[in-house]
Amino acid sequence: MQDSKWQTLTRPLIDDNPLTLQILGICSALAVTTALDTALLMSFVVVCVLALGSGSVSLIRNQLPHSVRIIAQITIIASLVIIADQVLQAYAFELSKRLSVFVGLIITNCIVLGRAESFAMHNRFIPSVLDGIGNGLGYSLILIIVGAIREFFGKGSLLNVQILVPTSQGGGFEPLHLMLLPPSAFFIIGGIIWLIRSRRPRQVEKPEFTLRRSTETGE
């Protein structure tokens, strides 16, 4: 059954989210979400790269020899990422310094190559672009939620606007240092996955094996 274009765009938001259902792109989600502004910028770049990458791969899919397709896909993605990186360095130098290597590492983000390989290679241009945007937005949604939670509880601010006054400046808010460390993103993403799966039990995986009922009777 062919999905409609609207479904192609919206399914990756919750129902087929690359981060919470496919557990892809976790590394960058841990690294860039200490603050909301870096999360937003990263989201924007990933959406652009995904849309353009999937679109370009889709355009040349019929000319690509099967045996070299991965190399071609990676070349396209890498070129796009390098362009994005250069643009960021030119127009948002401070933020790009804080994102450091993680813009460059979008090349290795499994979501980008995964969508090119599994969707854009088999679909026309428009659906491929929509699929790229949809997956990028699904990734962005989680990134923004995690970034907002981490910045709010870790520093008491959102987008660098101080909302709660920390105790060091005489306020009543005690910053959670934990939120600025990568493990907190694991906790938060885990919590989001749990929340989504308890709402949509269809996403819950089947257990790989089940324990037999105990037959122990005495010591």
Partner: protein, 363 residues
């Protein structure tokens, strides 16, 4: 060692026995904790009466009549209880609250494990811990440490240890904010170790810490972890009734002694590396952690060679982190967390090795 006990009535009885023994073993530690906390509190007040703060615990201590001039046993007891009991009660209430919610959602009876978790958690905190931190750490301990893994006996980390670790990393600077307890005991455990790292044995004796006082436990530190004597009493009980594995305990001692001696031999001057093994065993919360946390029957290796390996690993890691990483002067929490995580892997390797050995015997 996840499901050591099958879900039968008999196993339930065995679990209850284990639980009661572990609580009983903590009794001497609790008494020592109360007395030493009171003693330390009054000692600071006697030095600097202006540091008395107008909070719940300070008022409780003075309300119970704890006088800092020439304190007697009653004064220490009252001041200690005023600090120990509120923390414990908050921990118990929060633990019970989450336990009740979990039990209601899973339609199962309430498990008693949270009592033990609350007690261990309280004993590993300094006396001036803010109540919010207790609420926060205890919630993590019961929900993430125990609840999501299926409850008592199915945990792979010690939940109390997880709670302490979470509080430590979340509020690294918090312990030094309280004016009265400044420099006494941070979450990072023992300042006595930090003292030694800076000034060697001379700094310790200047602060009035000698091996005997560290053994009895009249040194500053987190509430329950200072008295090696009380911990040994608890350990004797646990060993007598075979609740904890002697191999695991002994291996930890061996690990500390071997690695500390190696560092001593390589150290050319005073500093962290020069700390002799007996100070490693006496100071900080190593003794407490070794007996009550690392030997948690559900969070440690369950094969005999695995116990030797895990124990040695803990001892070695504690000394290594203490010497190399000055931000963790105590090092017990990270070392034991790491070793707990590795325990299933160690067991797996030991069992695989055993299978191979036996297969070779019967070609």
């Amino acid at each position: 060692m996840a499901s050591m006990f099958a879900n039968t009535q008999n196993a339930g009885r065995r679990y209850q026995r284990l639980f009661k023994l572990r609580l009983l073993a903590l009794l001497p530690v609790c008494i020592a904790a109360v007395l030493n906390t009171g003693y330390q509190y009054l000692a600071v007040l006697a030095d600097a009466p202006e540091l008395a703060v107008d909070d719940l615990r300070g008022n409780l201590a003075s309300g119970l009549g704890a006088a800092y001039e020439d304190p007697g046993l009653y004064d220490m007891l009252a001041a200690g209880l005023a600090h120990f009991l509120p923390v414990l009660i908050v921990a118990l209430v929060i633990g019970g609250f989450w336990e009740r919610i979990i039990a209601a959602r899973r339609q199962r009876p309430i498990e008693t494990g949270f009592i033990l978790i609350a007690l261990l958690f309280t004993l590993m905190l300094p006396g001036a811990v803010p109540f919010f931190h207790v609420v926060y750490g205890m919630s993590f301990a019961v929900l993430l440490g125990k609840g999501i893994f299926g409850g008592d006996g199915k945990t792979f980390l010690s939940p109390a240890l997880l709670g302490v670790a979470i509080v430590q990393v979340s509020f690294p600077g918090a312990a030094s904010q309280h004016p009265l307890w400044q420099g006494l005991a941070g979450y990072a455990g023992s300042d006595a170790i930090a003292l030694f790292n800076r000034g060697g044995e001379a700094a310790l004796s200047a602060a009035g810490i000698d091996p005997w006082s560290a053994f009895v436990g009249s040194v500053p530190g987190t509430m329950g972890t200072t008295s090696v004597l009380a911990i040994l009493l608890g350990a004797a009980l646990l060993l007598r009734f075979r609740v904890i594995a002697w191999r695991l305990l002994l291996a930890q001692l061996v690990g500390v002694i071997v690695i500390a001696t190696l560092f001593n031999l390589s150290a050319n001057e005073s500093g962290a590396a020069a700390m002799p093994a007996h100070w490693h065993l006496l100071l900080g919360s190593f003794a407490f952690g070794a007996v009550f946390i690392a030997c948690d029957p559900f969070a440690s290796a369950c094969t005999n060679p695995g116990r030797w390996i895990q124990g040695f690993l803990i001892g070695a890691l504690v000394v290594l982190i203490r010497v190399v990483n000055s931000t963790h002067p105590d090092a017990v929490v990270p070392a034991m967390l790491l070793a707990s995580i590795l325990a299933p892997l160690i067991d797996h390797a030991v069992i695989a090795w055993n299978i191979r050995k036996r297969a070779q015997r019967h070609v």
